[in-house]
Subunit: 103 residues, 2 copies
């Protein structure tokens, strides 16, 4: 196992709450904030903090709009976010394969 | 993707520095502190902090002995540590398979 592989893991994505968010966003193009919240069982504050961290890293785009006079916040992966998440999965795959080569 | 899977990830193991330590300890029964340090490219302070966290969680055992009048600190996984690391790999595998089912 090459320790270099672990060093390459992006801390912004690796944190388990953010990894869960990135995972949902990778599976479907767009999520409303409240859908994410319900799905992940996170508090408003917790999800907001994570989304801001991901947005700051350039991985997630946030759009605010109005639907029937109610504000709607939607989140999606940016191209950079999709690439970074894919790289993250590659690294996790390398780590797994190093420990479980027989599978 | 079930967000529950992410919630089950143990934060003590998931942090990438500690995941690297657990990975080395899973691959070979015993490591001296200085071997770990060299291999991981960590500072004394950083490695000490991580080892203490892993020790406190019951995942790593630390033994101090003397070899040719020099003190030798060795680290190894406990049974609980081995089981927890294996569970962690299982969870990562589930996450990977959810995103890359075709492989």
């Amino acid at each position: 196992m090459d320790p270099e592989t672990f060093q390459q893991l992006d801390k912004v994505i690796h944190e388990k709450g953010r990894m869960a968010i990135m995972s949902l966003l990778a599976a479907r193009r767009e999520w409303s904030f409240s859908e994410l919240k319900d799905n992940l069982g996170m508090t408003d504050g917790n999800l907001t903090t994570h989304i801001k961290t991901l947005q700051k890293a350039g991985f997630v785009a946030v759009t605010k709009s109005f639907q029937s006079r109610r504000s709607l916040t939607t989140c999606s992966l940016t191209e950079a976010g999709r690439a970074a998440f894919s790289k993250h999965l590659d690294l996790l795959e390398q780590i797994l394969r190093a420990h479980r080569p027989a599978e």
